[in-house]
């Protein structure tokens, strides 16, 4: 029946398995009918590596090859030997789940993916079985991006699992994934994830071109990809958002941005990103919008504190003492009077110490890391002041600065901020307030000049667009963010339709009822009258 149906209704076109790489570019080596030739070729190509297992079957007339370290023995048993045992098929080559090929090069790629290949003497076809083993940790919340409320899962090192996390959240046919093989030697899988119809096609094209230009032996981490494709490498500011949170990536994709994911790392890059996107956290959208706005403002103030506070203090103490109100002059003077070094040196020493403590804390195992924090922070801080090397106020200032720099939800930007403290300290130490103004102007001009994938980095502040300020300094209620922001380059602006119209209906029905209740007594009276 099936045959007749196909003959009458089918279009007789043989479909082929879809591979995501262009096969025309791949080398081809036809398989031979002689089993020994094939096996020898493979052995030679793999340089007699010891974990290439060759199991001889059928009394030497067939062989099963796989890379021991990449396959799951249980799966081999399940897919290859179980059907034989239960007599479902006569030979391994006839197992329906197998993928057949005549190209030995393709089988090499298969072996590297963790497939097992089966070859028979006298037959050219090679059967491939997907028996890859993978070891995944659980998708637990990333350590560096914790939230109080909201989803608590995070990306892991497996690309498929990560894409699965996204697809589960966006069940839409427009969600498109494009695979790339980057790294000439490592052949790392890279995936572009975007929502077709919302994301600007030119943006995708732009990213694709930049990715295709990468010619490197290995793609080791997202940092590699980032530096290859970002607009301006001569900038301390990160131009792509790094995140390990699926909900954040999904939100970005829904805004029309593109996520770039790499095999072997949980970190996902988001392009284009603006300065303010580094100050958004998933938490903000789970809070009341009042508190969300409040927290946003605190974070953005922390930007100014983190890069400006030590500079401001130095400028005041060494140039503009008259800025301090009369009541404060004596305490401040007392605290800095005994110190041997100029404030500039003081500040540099303290800032460097803080950086040392932080770096030491990261590299050490957690229990020791905490000890370092206590020893460094409390003991050194206290001793340094008592020894008269650094003033009390300077310790306060530097500690506040460090705290402010950790408020930024993004780790890279936080590092950038702490780095930018140094030039400003120097400028403040040499030119006082004028130096600080100069430094801030240079930073602002730099930020205005920066672009991330055709989007101004400081959007929506420069260029100013009042409508898009709704998710920067403030966080307006969700239903008011009905348009996608311009800085994501989305081609479909509408994101939220009228969603709170029930309120008006309720109101109008209430007023109707109120009207009725006023009218009713009359009506009632009329009735009773009648």
């Amino acid at each position: 029946m099936g045959f007749i149906r196909r003959l009458l209704l089918g279009d007789h076109e043989k479909l082929q398995d879809r591979e995501f790489i262009n096969q025309n570019d791949e080398p081809e080596y036809p398989s031979s009918t002689k089993l020994a030739d094939n096996v020898n070729y493979l052995m030679h190509e793999f340089h007699n590596t010891n974990d290439l297992r060759i199991r001889i079957l059928n009394k030497g007339n067939a062989s099963l090859l796989y890379i021991e370290s990449l396959v799951d023995q249980g799966k081999i048993h399940e897919t290859i030997f179980r059907p034989l045992e239960f007599n479902e098929v006569d030979s391994i080559g006839e197992i329906p789940s197998a993928k057949h090929t005549l190209n030995l090069e393709e089988s090499i790629r298969g072996l590297l993916k963790g497939h097992a290949i089966y070859m028979e003497d006298g037959r050219k076809t090679i059967a491939q079985f997907a028996v890859t083993s993978s070891f995944n940790r659980s998708t637990e919340e990333p350590q560096n991006e914790k939230v109080v409320r909201g989803s608590h899962d995070g990306f892991i090192e497996n690309l498929m699992v990560n894409i699965n996390l996204i697809r589960r959240r966006i069940q839409n046919r427009d969600l498109t994934i494009k695979y790339y093989k980057l790294g000439k030697k490592t052949n790392t899988n890279v995936a572009l994830v975007f929502l077709d119809g919302v994301t600007d096609p030119e943006l995708i094209q732009e990213i694709e071109t930049r990715l295709n230009y990468i010619s490197s032996d290995m793609i080791h981490s997202p940092g590699y990809v980032e530096e290859f494709i970002e607009d301006n490498t001569k900038s301390p500011f990160p131009q792509m958002l790094n995140t390990e949170r699926p909900d954040r990536v999904v939100a970005a994709i829904m805004e029309g941005r593109v996520a770039i994911m790499t095999e072997g790392t949980p970190t996902t890059l988001i392009a284009p990103s603006t300065f303010f996107s580094f100050y958004q956290a998933s938490d903000d959208y789970n809070m009341r919008w009042f508190t969300g706005t409040f927290v946003r403002l605190i974070r953005l103030t922390s930007f100014v504190i983190a890069i400006g506070l030590p500079a401001f203090y130095i400028a005041v103490v060494s140039f503009h003492f008259e800025v301090i109100p009369d009541e404060l002059v004596i305490p401040v003077k007392q605290s800095i009077n005994e110190i041997a070094y100029p404030p500039l040196i003081e500040a540099l020493v303290m800032v460097v110490i803080i950086e040392l403590i932080r770096e030491a804390g990261i590299r050490l195992p957690q229990p020791i890391g905490q000890t370092i924090g206590i020893v460094g922070g409390l003991v050194i801080g206290d001793a340094v002041v008592r020894a008269g090397l650094v003033s009390n106020l300077m310790v306060i200032v530097v500690a506040l600065t460090a705290i402010a720099s950790f408020v930024v939800p993004s780790n890279e930007l936080s590092t950038t901020l702490r780095f930018l403290t140094f030039p400003l300290i120097f400028l403040a130490g040499t030119l006082g307030f004028i130096g600080i103004t100069f430094g801030f102007m240079m930073i602002l001009i730099h930020l205005t000049r920066l672009e991330s994938f055709g989007v101004p980095y400081l959007a929506p502040v420069a260029p100013l667009r009042f409508k898009d300020l709704k998710d920067t300094f403030i966080r307006v209620p969700i239903y008011m963010m009905n348009k996608r922001p311009r800085d994501s380059r989305a081609v479909q602006m509408e994101a939220i339709g009228p969603s709170r119209e029930w309120k008006q209906i309720e109101k109008s029905s209430q007023s109707d009822e109120a009207g009725k209740s006023i009218n009713q007594p009359d009506g009632g009276n009329n009735k009773t009258d009648k």
Partner: protein, 385 residues
Amino acid sequence: MKPASQSINQTAETIKPTNNTKEQKVSRRQFFYILVQTQIGVGILSLPNELHAVSRQDGWISLLVAGVVLPIVLLILWLIAKRYEDLTFFQINEKLFGKWGGRAFSLLYSCYFVSVGVLIVLLFGRMISLWVLPNTPFWVMAVCIVTVGVYLTNGGLLVLARFYTMVSLLLLLLITLSFYSLQEAHWMYLLPIGESGITKIILGAKEALLSFFGFFVSIVIFSRVEGSVKERFKTMLQAHFFVTFFYLLTLIISYTFFSTKEITFVPEPILYMLKSFELPFIARIDLFFISMWFVSVATSFTTYLYMAGQGLKEVFRLKTAKRANVFISLIIVASASLIGYDMTKMETFTKYVIQSGFIFTFYIPPFILIVALVRRRIQKERDEG
């Protein structure tokens, strides 16, 4: 599902992002802020005192007169720019005065812009050394402001516009600070109104015109602003009246805070006034004011640098103005350092720059307009003949 996706595709085709920032036009709002930031700058601190020297407490009337007269010049500039909507000012010159005449003309203008730049640097350095850093050598201040200028200009007009719009927030802060001081105003100081007489007031108005010199940028970037010709003129007027209002506010505040006699002794009334205030957590607001004023000065300076750079670019047919900008700023630093804090040299220099300012921004534009009109007439006759 089908129709929805189709409509998505349509929007994808219609909305084309403009990647090329170089050719992108400046919005009218940005045009407004460019005009405002260029005009409000180095002069704002000394304006009250200078006007007072001529027309005493009626200085604010002089300013109003200047503010009312100036739109005539704006109209002339607009009439020129509107004729050649797609050309920059320097290209218009070449069109009107021929290849070499136009180039010479543009070069003269560039020199004028450079000299204004030098003047700004000089005044800035002097003010900073008087108020904030008495021991710092002049060239350090010059290098500071010029570095900002070059970095900003080399970003292109769009970056310039974006930055100006952003820092205009500071103007709001300045206005708030000024309002804070209104509580100490003595309105009696303004009386008697019109005491100095009409001639003095008119002379004062001439003095007041100086602080509006920056309006000339409107014709230089006119072709790179969005919107219809009329809309752009409206923005020019709006910016002009905003600047007038801002100056008026500073004048009234300084004239009501200091009496007529006092004001002759304070060269920078606003600063002296702020110096006397003390907020609970901070004293000496004038230092903060000066830091914000630095931004305003830097923006005016940058505009002149930009104009000079564009001029050189057009004259020497350069691909970009970047090299020209660096070259100009080196000249500015060098020539400003030659004068430095030397008051007598500076006064002569200021005099020359002001005179050439009047020539280049007030006397030449009508002449250009006449040439344009005559040329058009000739063109028409030729077409008819």
